[in-house]
């Protein structure tokens, strides 16, 4: 199993969630984060004070998946989160040592459902 960490634009979050839902990826954690991915700074003005907003609001998704789901998940996020401009985000795929489902005590592959993607 793997842990997929994806950082995406907040305005693309709904598209990503929809794509993940269609790909039958269930279970994820989302957090609002601030980040910078090389995009041009936004300039704002507040009563004579000009500021460059160096950090942009982003959404960070963490998804634990079984091996057959890695490609499916990555493909769903790539397709849904892309606008083609700098600042679309990143996807990291990490090895995971153990996974435990707290409710049942199941571990590893059994703790990330489902194990077989649709159409495989």
């Amino acid at each position: 199993m793997k842990l997929i960490i994806a950082t995406v634009r907040p305005d693309k979050l709904n598209d990503v969630l929809e794509a993940l839902y269609r790909a039958e990826v269930r279970g994820l954690t989302a957090s609002r984060v601030m980040g910078h991915g090389g995009e041009v700074e936004r300039v704002e003005n507040y009563r004579g004070t000009t500021v460059k907003m160096g950090l942009q609001e982003k959404v960070r998704l963490e998804i634990g998946v079984s091996e057959p789901f890695v490609d499916v998940t990555v493909k769903a996020i790539l397709g849904a989160a892309r606008t083609g401009e700098v600042g679309d985000g990143k996807i990291f795929v990490l090895d995971v040592e153990q996974v435990h489902r707290i409710r049942t005590g199941e571990r590893d592959e059994a703790a990330v459902t489902p194990t077989i993607p649709a159409g495989v």
Binding site: N14, M34, E44, K52
Partner: protein, 441 residues
């Protein structure tokens, strides 16, 4: 308003201190309704569009207010013809401290100006979260000239609907039907927000919505009470009806909410208050307080179900301006023809319940004319503007939010990651980095 206006014009033209005092307060009260509307609308949109939505109301204070002083007041209230006023009072020529009724002419002009401002701002609720700011300002300026000023002239300025005997105490037709129908057409011309019907678009600050509704009610005492254009009995009647009707609408709305969805919602309660205020507006100075309670209670039903129905269609009248102000205004205008009573205002007329069914027909004429005129003219103005400018933002800008893209500000900025640009480097640094944001507008 029209009946009292005629009555006072016949009287000797002297300024009354008491009337002036009340009208000074009323003018300030009605002006406050536009910031109140900004909070009402601002709370209903997503946080990334909060400032833009509120600015759509605030900018009307400047744009429409100045236009009013320059020419729109003259077009609405100069004698002119039955269809449109003249240019006698353009640039405020001849508008001094002399008596207009029993108050100074300048005060009458200012008081009427506050109505023009809020009416234009009301329309913004149908186009929020997607219409570009510049074209919006151009739209409300043209709309005030071509729609508001003529209709105000017809109903209040001695025009043909006034002659026909249409009863509109404080602007059910001129303000609410006018704005409501125009909002409907504007929503259709612009099309829905990109997320509309695809994902839930929720109010970002419900306390703002309640604050706005409360302040609107407060300001509405000037709107209706002040439409007597004097202090005294008629102002007190209109004031009391403005006090009672929304109470009934609020309770019926909350009960409808409760029995249909299981909860008395705060957004529903705030909407109910506004609908009650809209509905009592044309009737405030013509009906008894008991009738105001009945009118308020009845007015909840059409607007409540119009909102429920609209939410199931593809029509993105985002903040339900048509269901609230259009449907509420039409209900109020027609119910004025039912409840009006000469016993409470001899200068008015009797309605259906007092045995004068003809008044209901007259009211329907007023409604029909303003629906058609506002609808057609709004379509013409927007299509004309669309021929020269792009009315709405592209999907990318809409996704980022209108606050950052239209105004270069955020409503709830944390300041995290913001770098102060010193004046020396501002000019060379700001210009190129601002380009990607502006280019996408």
């Amino acid at each position: 308003m029209l009946a009292t206006l005629l009555a006072v014009q016949d009287a000797a033209p002297t300024v009354s201190g008491a009337d002036t005092a009340w009208m000074l307060i009323s003018t300030a009260l009605v002006l406050l309704m536009t910031p109140a509307l900004a909070f009402f609308y601002g709370g209903l949109v997503r946080s990334k569009n909060a400032l833009n939505t509120m600015m759509m109301s605030f900018v009307a204070l400047g744009a429409v207010g100045l236009l009013w002083a320059l020419v729109a007041y003259s077009l609405a209230f100069d004698a002119g013809t039955a269809w449109i006023g003249g240019f006698t009072n353009a640039l405020l020529a001849g508008v001094g401290v002399e008596a207009k009724g029993t108050i100074p002419h300048v005060l009458f002009m200012a008081y009427q100006g506050t109505f023009a401002i809020i009416t234009a701002a009301l329309i913004s609720g149908a186009v929020v979260e997607r219409m570009r700011f510049g074209p919006y300002v151009a739209f409300i300026v043209l709309w005030t000239l071509l729609v508001y000023a003529p209709v105000a002239h017809w109903v209040w300025g001695g025009g043909w609907l006034m002659t026909k005997g249409v009863l509109d105490f404080a602007g059910g037709t001129v303000v609410h039907i006018n704005a409501g129908v125009s909002a409907l057409v504007a929503a259709m011309v612009l099309g829905g927000r990109k997320d509309f019907g695809r994902q839930a678009i929720l109010p970002h600050n419900v306390p703002f919505v309640l604050l706005g509704a409360g302040l609107l009610w407060f300001g509405w005492f000037g709107f209706n009470g002040g439409s007597a254009l004097a202090s005294g009995e008629l102002a007190s009647l209109a004031f009391t009806n403005t006090f009672l009707a929304p109470m009934a609408t609020l309770m019926v709305w909350v009960l409808l909410d409760y029995f249909r969805n299981g909860h008395a919602t705060a957004v529903g309660g705030a909407t109910g208050i506004v609908v009650g205020l809209v509905a009592v507006t044309p009737a405030a100075g013509f009906i008894s307080p008991a009738s105001a309670i009945a009118l308020g209670a009845l007015a909840a039903f059409p607007s409540y179900f119009a909102i429920a129905l609209r939410a199931r269609t593809r029509l993105d009248d985002s903040l339900d301006v048509f269901a609230g102000h259009g449907v509420g205004g039409i209900t109020g205008a027609l119910l004025t023809g039912v409840f009006a009573s000469k016993a409470f205002n001899p200068a008015g007329n009797d309605g259906l319940l007092a045995g004068n069914a003809a008044q209901l027909v007259t009211q329907a004429l007023g409604v029909g004319v303003s629906v058609v005129y506002a609808g057609v003219m709004t379509l013409v103005i927007l299509k004309g503007l669309a021929a020269v400018v792009q009315l709405r933002s592209d999907a990318r800008t809409e996704g980022l939010g209108m606050d950052v893209t239209q105004h270069g500000e955020e409503a709830y900025s944390t300041g995290e990651g913001s770098i102060l640009v010193l004046p020396a480097e501002a000019a060379p640094a700001a210009a190129p980095s601002a380009v990607p944001a502006t280019a996408a507008r």
